[in-house]
Symmetry: C2
Subunit: 68 residues, 2 copies
């Protein structure tokens, strides 16, 4: 599993823990609602700014998105 896939799974896990739909999280993070599913599938080489927006939207620190 590469880093994009690991990151996507972490986003999906935290999103579900918070009871958020993909559309709701996309809105909170101000990213396109068609972009989030591809991030969760590990298909996107996301940028540090997108990573930060997802962390803020999920209420965690960036480092928490990279916990093993």
């Amino acid at each position: 599993m590469d880093i994009k896939q690991k990151f996507g799974l972490k986003i999906k896990e935290l999103r579900k823990l918070r009871g958020l739909s993909q559309e709701k999280l996309a809105n909170l993070a101000e990213i396109d609602r068609t972009y989030l599913p591809t991030i969760e599938k590990g298909e996107r080489n996301v940028s540090i700014e997108i990573i930060e927006r997802l962390a803020i939207a999920l209420g965690v620190k960036i480092k928490d998105l990279f916990d093993e």
Copy 2:
């Protein structure tokens, strides 16, 4: 200071701790040697794959690049 600037400073700090030149770190991370200085200056919206390569080259985990 935005996330790109914070990240750049962290890379610079760890690079110096390890006694590496910018050119040496760029070689280790397999990124262009003209790209690394702009990352350290906080001018680049780096991707998760570049972040991973820098972490590996510096011998740390990705989360260590986002410690406060």
